[in-house]
Every structure is written in C-alpha cells, then in structure tokens.
C-alpha cells in the first residue's frame, strides 16, 4: 500500500528531475537556463500584458525568491523590459521584447524536439490518463502558465 505510494511519488520526482535536466542541457547550448526559459514562456503567455515580479513568481515551477535577478539577466540581454508600474509604483511591469520572443522561439524548438523523443512511448489515451492522474494528485493548481 504505502510502498505503492512511495514508488509512485518517487517515480514522479525522478521523472520530473530527469525531464528538467534534459531540457536544461538543451537550453544551455543556446545560452539559457531553465528558469530563464520559464520566465520567457510565462511573459509570452501573457500576450503583451505586463506582469509583476510576483505574478511571474507564482507561475514558476520552482519556488524561487530571486525572480528579480533572473529578470536582471534578461534585461541585460534585451529580452525583456522592466519599468515601474504607473498605477502602483511598488510593482514592476515586465514585458517580453521582440528580441525575447525570437529567442524564445529558438528555445521552444529544442524543447519540442526533446518532447518528440517521447512520441510513441505512450499512446494518446495513455498521455491523457497521465494528465488526469497528475491533476487528481495535485488538485489545487497554484501554478499555471501559458
């Protein structure tokens, strides 16, 4: 019983780390880290709407208190812009740039290529099953991007 729990949860941990590691290796070739990729995706998913540091943090897979410094890097690379939010000067308006979008496209390409390695390992019904099971396990979806 509990052994089964353990196998399932441990399997999830290993699977998650493994996918992250593999993705990181591929992103690094293009000069990006996984958190940077994550932030760019989140901003791109906002469709031009500026997001605050907090909003980005909430959508990140890895809880990290240092979104500020990730943004610092992206700003230095002209991939996002950061400016004070006019309505609330405590907040920052962060937006992906054209340069950032073009870069993200390149990053997405290598990630999609990695995903394609999984073609055929499960059939469509099984992939749906997996998604369903994950949703059931983690009902409160505190982090959502795209």
């Amino acid at each position: 019983m509990n052994e089964l729990h353990y196998r399932a949860l441990h399997g999830l941990i290993r699977a998650g780390h493994r996918v992250t590691d593999e993705v990181s290796i591929r992103l690094k070739v293009l000069g990006a880290t996984e958190p940077q990729y994550n932030v760019l995706r989140i901003l791109n998913g906002a469709k031009g709407k500026p997001l605050s540091v907090q909003e980005i943090s909430e959508r990140m897979v890895q809880r990290s208190s240092n979104v500020t410094r990730i943004i610092d890097k992206l700003v230095a690379q002209n991939r996002v812009v950061r400016q004070e939010c006019p309505e609330n000067r405590r907040k920052m308006d962060i937006v992906i740039t054209k340069v950032g979008q073009a870069y993200l496209k390149k990053l997405d390409k290598v990630v999609v290529a990695y995903h394609q390695e999984f073609d055929g390992r499960l059939d469509t019904a099984e992939y749906e099953q997996l998604v369903t099971l994950l949703n059931k396990l983690f009902t409160d979806e505190s982090t959502e991007d795209c």
Copy 2:
C-alpha cells in the same frame, strides 16, 4: 497531439518539483537537505556494503558532481564514515553509521507522513497505472536506489 505531450511532460516537471519542494521543507525542520537524505537512503539501501562516491552519484536523483561535499557534511555529523578502499586506493568506502541510521529513521517518518497526505487522492489501481506509465515513459532505468 504535441500539446498533449507538452501538458503531460510539463505536468511531470511541476509534480516532481512540487513533491521535492514539499519534502525539502519537511526535511529541513530536522536539519537535513534533500540530497543528504538521498545519500543516506542510498547508503542504507546498500545494507552495510560500502559504496564509492561514484556509485552514490549514479543512484542520485539529481545529477550532481559534488557528492564529495555532501559526504563531507555527513561525515562531520558522524552520520557516515569515509575511508580509503583497500582494494583500490583511488576509491572511497562510504558507509552509513548507527547514528546515521537512527537519523534516517526520523527523516523517513516525516516523508512517510507527507506521503500519507496522498491517501485517497488515487485508488490503488490508479497508483499502479501511474507507476506503469512512468516506467513506459522512461524505459532505461539508469538510476535506482534502495
């Protein structure tokens, strides 16, 4: 199609990180990090047989080149012993101590308690399904502990 892949893999990443994060929080209360816990579990699983740094590395969930420094910490805490392997003086024989085993028991307790939070979220058949799907996705099991 590809969207489904993405949802499944991204779900795995989030689930894995989430479980790791939650476990880390609980371990930290007892003064341990997740990698330290991992090493202790691996050594305990070896049933007294000394393992080399390399053997431990291979069994870790997170690829990390710094098992040496994790061992440093555990040695300082008297939870493992490290001595030169007599057969091959390049290698190190690393073994968990009684102190380490007792400590590991305490760590396991909080991890098990966390696992129990998942009771009822899936039924037995579903847990088995999940394990099966994960095994199908990652056929080559390069990392195995316990």
